[in-house]
Structure formats: C-alpha cells, structure tokens
Amino acid sequence: MKEIDIPIEASVDRNRTNPLARVFDELVRFCRSRSMFMLHYCTGCGAIELPPAMTSRFDMERLGIQPMVTPRQADILLITGYVSIKTLKRVILTYEQMGSPKYVIGICSCTVNGGMYWQSYATAKQLDQYLPVDLYIAGCMPRPEAVLEGMRKLMDRIRSGEADGWKDYYRRYDWYLGNQQHLFGDDWQTPADVIGEASHYDLAGPGTEGEHTRLLQQCQKPLEPQQTFFQIGGSLEVKGESHE
C-alpha cells in the first residue's frame, strides 16, 4: 500500500468559465443537495441511532433525506459503524452499483480508525482506504443530533462542489483497488467496470490504471452464476461453497 501523489484537479471542473454554465451548475448542485436518498447499510452498532434520527423526534425528512432500499437509486451510502471484512466486500459491491454522483458518510469512530476494535482480527480499520469517504461523523455512537449536523454539512459541501469523493475513486482507482486486493486477496473482483466508467465520465487520470488494475485484468474471470446452494429437492446439503 503506497501513497501515490496525484494532483487533484478538483477545482478545475468546479467552476466552469461560461457564466451560463455556472448558473446551471449551481442550480444542479442546489437540487442535488436538497433531495438525497440515503442507503443505510447497517454495518455496525451506529445503526441504532438512525431510527430516532429518521422518525418523528429528529425527523431527517425535513432536510429532504429519505431512506432508499436499492443502491441504484440511492445518493448517499451511509456506513454506520465498524465494517468487518466480510461486510466490506458487500459495501464495495454496493458502492460500485450506485449511480454517480454518490457520497459516502462514515458514521462512528470505528470507520475512522478502528475505534474500540483497533486490535480485532475481523474488522477493516480505516474505511477511507477502500472507499472515498466524503464525511465522517465521529463518536461512539454519534447522537442523532450529530447525524443531522453531519447531513447538513454534507448538503453544504454538495452545494459548494467540495463533496467529490466519487471522482476521486475514479481518479485514483488503482490505489483503492490495491488496498482492496491487499485485504481480500489478489483475485478480488467486482462486476462493475470502473475503468470504463472513469473514461465515460472523463475522469480517467494517471492514477486510474496501474499495477493493481493490471493484476485485476490478469485474474479477471467472467463471473459465474452462483453455484446452487441447496440441492434441488429442498435438502440442506451444501453443494459447493458459493460465497467467501
């Protein structure tokens, strides 16, 4: 896992020079910040403070934030606590299915630095090594007020165009992929074609491809349909290990 220095040219596309385009961009960002669908993946204990935050007492809906059940229609991926390695695979899979622009919020200290599971063998310690995190809400666990405050911050950052972690994922895909391979093994692959998407969004840069993506290409095999988990007939025999 080595750091690569890539000039982040985020400020370049933040303000286009054509005044009309700038007005348009401003409007788009305003709309985006006011209607956010949130996919909360209950990865850890922080999830228990979300029902109070979403329901009548603190009521997130007044900020235009609503829970959404499928990743493809969601804008925010909320990681609510420690991510075990098994969960992290699903989180990455979920993240890559979401449509851009997408934002990741890490709730709880455990996503920042491992929190109280710093010496656990089963959890991933720093979420931002594997996914671009736009905002952290620290605390063990953060109160609903803190969650709401974090959401307000994210709205401000979306309006000002600073919340562009998803672009960073395309620009430095090689680094993220390297960290993922380090954790999951060299044959780690997801169904998403991130490099293709990067060139589609015109975000492919020097860090998009590298040694890790080459490794991915080498180990790439077409995803096979999952082996049957049960034998036909309803018995509980396991035919093949279809996961992990």
Partner: protein, 380 residues
C-alpha cells in the same frame, strides 16, 4: 457493468429458485443474511448466513483488563445493552466472592427493566414495519427515546451506559430522578391502549401473524429457545424467577405465557412483559428511597487487579432470552477465556432456518422480528 457479466443463468425447469435475503435488505434486522430457496413464493429451505458483524469479542476480551472489558460488553447486543454489563459484572463478582451493596442491586434492577422496556418497544416497531404498519414503528421509536432520555440523565449515555462495574454501579441516581421515572412509566402505560388499538388487535397484524412460524414446546426446548419465545409456547420459564439474581426474589411480578407459539403469541408475550416491567419499575421506585448505603464496594486498583483463579457461569434474563457469561480466570489481570451464551444465536440461526420453511417469502422478515433476534449478538 461489464457486458459479459450479463449472463442468462441456466435453470432447471422447475418453479424452484434461490434468493439472497439480506444483508442489506429493509426487511432484515440489521446486517444479517439468509439464503432462501423458494417454490413460487413459499420457502422450501433456508440457510442463515451470518458473520457480517463478527468482531471477535471473545478474543478481544482476553487481551484487555477486567475493567476495560466493561466498555466492550454492551456492544455485543446493541438494542438491549444493559444485561450484558450486569451479567459480566456478576461473573467477575462471583470470581472475586464480592458482595454487591443492596442499593446497587436495586439500581441494577431498575436499569435492567428500563432497558427491557426500551428493547421491547423497539421490537414492536420493527415487527409492525414488516407487516406494513409504519405508524407503530414511529411511535415505538419515539417512546423508546423517552427511556433513552432517562438513561442519558442517569448515566450520560443514550444507548451505551457503561454504568455497571464489578462491585456495584458507578454512581447514584441524580436528585428527583425517581419522579421522572414514574412520570415516564405513567406515560408509557397510558400509551398501551393506543398500541393495542393500532397494532396488537389490528386485523392486519392478527391475520398475518397467526400461524406464522409456529413451533411447539418440545421443539422449542430441543432447539435451545429461551425467553419470550419459549414462554410463547406455554412454558413459564424465566431466569428472574427460577434462578433469582440481584433482588428479583423480593419483587412481585407475573410471567406471561401464551400457548400457540406462533409469531402472534411471541409478540403478545412481549406486550404483556412490557406491562410487567412497568410494574417492576414502579416497585423499585417505591423501594429505592428506603434502601440506603453505598452503591459500590471497594475494588482493588483496577489497573492491577488480579482476579483469583476459577471459573463461573452467570445468567440473567435479557429481553431476548437467557443470557449467560462463562468466564475463566487464571489469576491474571485479564480473563483467560470468556464465552458469551447469547440467546439470539439460537433464535436467528437454527430456529429461524426451521421456522422459515413453509412460510411465504414476505413473512420471513416477520418471523425474524417476532423471534427478536439481535444480529450483533449472533456474530459477536
């Protein structure tokens, strides 16, 4: 998506197919998954797929001091953390042959019962949401927050309190706190008729929950079911009464049971337990002013606390069932081995796999909520 990943899956010519249910599914309780095999929309086989929340608690506890583990244990079961603290503290006290002052015991009972009320309100909400009644969920979560406010005033933490330590509790209650407890109990009791009208006697709920996921008493005993799920099969077993700990032997309460053992009975048992817990809290509130004395005994320097060698098993009744801690000490300043007997590991794995068979797909979430399984405690 790469185009080559869009592949038609060759499928045997039958109505049977497999579905992943969870881990990120609105109907599932927390981060937990099931693989179900369906015929039409009837489940013919189910396999629990846990481990998404595994943190290796039992290993982590071996590497921390006795007192540090107090901060770790409540994380094992998030909706109902207090029994974890109490049970672990009781185990350490048993190893040390330590007496807990009486006032601390009453305070612990108060905490346990408040936590049970909060956990049950949360479960009703979840169960109602799986049958499409979201109002109950909004109400349940809002009423649970009243109890969390009490906890916050009392201990400083909304969800995790880290209030019980081996030897007693950390501090006494604030002034005027008992009045606020009785006030909140009055409020929650006055809400119960509303819950009955909205949810428990609601025809939608009764029709859907009746005969869903039934088990009989013998099955329940074979599968290691405890707590409200066992009492819903007609057996009045409650650790609080049958193996009294703390001061439960001085408290008067009933053990509600129901006979049918289906999702409806399980939820109804919890509904009646809520009432009993309110009754217990009232008794504690009445008794507490007359019990004076310290709230904890002196413990040795916690940073160099060598607990005498030995092993012990303590158990309490949590809102999910029987919760036990098996703790072994080798005389060092850290536990040699800790095993947590969580009730949910039985409920969410072997019981759920059995009960889901024969149910319709839309009832699987309901069965899981009616078993009140707690995924972080399954995986630990």
């Amino acid at each position: 998506m790469r185009p080559e990943n869009y592949q038609a899956i060759s499928h045997p010519p039958s109505n049977e197919y497999e579905l992943n249910f969870g881990p990120n599914h609105p109907g599932i309780e927390g981060n937990y998954a099931l693989k179900v095999k369906l015929h039409g929309d009837v489940v013919v086989a189910a396999r629990a797929d846990g481990g998404y929340l595994h943190r290796g608690f039992e290993k982590l506890m071996e590497g921390r001091l006795w007192i540090q583990n107090i901060a770790l244990v409540p994380r094992i079961c998030v909706p109902d953390p207090v029994p974890m603290e109490v049970c672990y503290s009781m185990a350490v006290e048993a190893l040390n042959d330590m007496e807990v002052p009486e006032r601390a015991q009453w305070l612990r009972v108060l905490q346990l019962e408040l936590s049970r009320i909060a956990a049950h309100l949360f479960t009703f909400g979840g169960h109602a949401a799986t049958t499409g009644m979201y109002t109950t969920m909004y109400w349940g979560v809002a009423d649970r927050d009243q109890i969390l406010d009490l906890f916050e005033e009392w201990t400083g933490g909304r969800v995790y309190h880290i209030y019980n330590i081996p030897g007693g509790v950390r501090r006494d209650i604030p002034a005027g706190f008992l009045d606020r407890v009785s006030h909140t109990m009055d409020y929650i009791e006055s809400r119960l008729p509303d819950y009955d009208n909205l949810f428990f006697t609601n025809q939608v709920f009764v029709d859907r929950a009746r005969d869903t996921g039934p088990m009989n008493q013998q099955q329940a005993l074979e599968w290691g079911v405890t707590g409200p799920n066992l009492r819903a099969t007609g057996l009045a077993f409650d650790v609080r009464r049958d193996d009294p700990y703390l001061v439960y032997d001085q408290i008067d309460f009933d053990i509600p049971t129901e006979a049918p053992g289906d999702a409806w009975a399980r939820t109804l048992v919890r509904r009646q337990e809520l009432k009993q817990s309110i009754h217990i809290v009232r008794q504690v509130v009445e008794k507490l002013p007359s019990v004076s004395g310290p709230v904890r005994t002196r413990i040795p320097n916690p940073l160099a606390w060598n607990v005498p060698p030995g092993e012990t098993y303590t158990r309490v009744e949590s809102s999910k069932g029987e919760l036990g801690y098996y703790v072994v000490s080798d005389g060092g300043d850290k536990p040699h081995r800790v095993h947590v007997r969580g009730p949910s590991s039985m409920h969410a794995v072997q019981v759920l796999e059995q009960l889901a068979v024969g149910a319709r797909l839309e009832d699987v979430a309901q069965i899981m909520f009616s078993l009140d399984a707690c995924p972080p405690e399954v995986d630990r």
